[in-house]
Amino acid sequence: MSIDIELQKSATKYRNKQKVKDRFISALIGVFAIIWIFPIVWTFWTSLRPYKDVRANGVFSIPKALNLQNYFDAISRMDLPLYFWNTFAITVPAVFLTLFFGSLIAFVVSRYSFKWNVTLLLLFTAGNLLPAQLVFIPVFKMYITLGKAIGIPRVLYDSHWGVVLIHVAFQMGFATFVLSSYMKTIPKEISESAMVDGATVFTHYSKVMLPLLRPALASLAVLMTTWIYNDFFWALVLMSTDSKRPITSALGRLQGEFVTDYNLLAAGAAIAALPTLIVFFLLRKQFVSGLTLGSTKG
């Protein structure tokens, strides 16, 4: 009895002590968090101020006007709709194909017991972890050689499809890995009864497994969209025409071109960041679960 009371006492004491400590920790992390998002807030602030005002009075001056003029200017002067279209034309097919191919491999590996299943899974997962630097020269050469061989020089090099394919080839490793670990949580009995009922492999995939995979596919789609949207590297090295590049790759050139008018540039950067921010805030749950489903990405 008394031991129980004693224990409860010490528990209360511990909790009270902890409360004070927690308040201090919370305040500390809070201050740190404000410093953390300051760079983003500053960029946003910069984007709302007219260039003339800043130029005349300095970056720390109290603004005479705050408006969205820089955003309108950025959209028309930086050709942003064009670059957004390019991003769209790359991201949508790339995400779709990545999920499609990833789900095919994951389906076979997790539902049928072939002896090379683990090898296959290892191959895809390891492939996803290889550095881009290691594959870049031959891919570049292959694209150009293929273009020459079939008489259409820009079939893959300097084309959206070339960028789509390299994204798909790399990311399907990650998709396979995530989807196959998700599929392992789906009971085998479902598949067995489908097979007993005489379903073909194709029906088993499309009518039985695919609907069950929906939550995992949604999470993965959100994650892949942000990754492919944010990538600037492949479009930079596998394309030569600037007007075909996606928004993130184009930002570098725009930065050079509008280097003096950085209020305009801030608006451009904010617009480029907007889609991923919207996705993050609206589909945050899918985003986080996609990342933690595979628990990592190299």
Partner: protein, 304 residues
Amino acid sequence: MNSTAVGSKKAHRRRAFSKADRTTLIAFVGIPLFFHLLLVWVPAFLTILLSFTYWSGISISRIKWAGLANYKNIFFDTPAFWEAVQNNVIWLLWFAGIATPIGILLAYQIDRQIRGHKFYETAYYLPVVLSLAVTGIIWDFLLRPDGFVNGLMGRDIDNAFSFFGNYDINIYVILTIASWRHIGYIMLLYLAGLKSVDLALREASALDGATEWQTFKKVVFPAMKPVNVIVIVITIIESLRAFDIVYIIYGSRGGLPILGTLVFSNIAGEGASMKGAAYAVILFLLSIGPIIAYLRTTFKSDVQ
């Protein structure tokens, strides 16, 4: 006995595939595999071969065998390589000693649901969502000669401090920007792992008189082993491969030599050697260890 039963069941199932099913299975595996091999593994293998050659990169018939010449050149005649190695080591020490522990610490505190934890989680994760191209612009606003920090330091554009151009400190400037992302990423991974550790376990250990540090070290940390391995692997791989943010800030000119950008500075120059390929292979060899560690952790249950 058990194994033969399983074996015959397998054999039975394999024989049971109809011709159409077999074709479907081959297509399901074959088509993705073709693209993956063609654009990832075959090029990787070719790069390894090319690293032993001289080639201007134009006509395939003019590839000449170089033996180890590219590697010799890198190790003995390229001071930039050793500068890069030094910078990558600094990068690794910074990430392993500062950025990753901060991320873990944040995750640990936020997981205890301290006041405002939802806001904190979002704030720290926000930089991870942004494209590095945007990150580069954001930090340029802060650090440029007429930017925020120089203004705060009371310096005007003529005697501004050059954060990116000062070679003594620019590695730390870049590391600050890189950590801005890395910390949030590690925090999120760790936070997901912590959700699986029982809260009662922690309170019990605290009741037993353990300090918070002891609780973390003796109770939480060991329970998180798989996540720990992944976090360590990510820290090492990201430090070795660091590339994007340096490329965004400096382009392919050598403002800050690190292994990841040397690969490109040498390819873009179209020199008569495949030194760039050799750099890529060195980068690959350095990251093999962490990759294997990662695969072993994640596939442990599959192989057994």
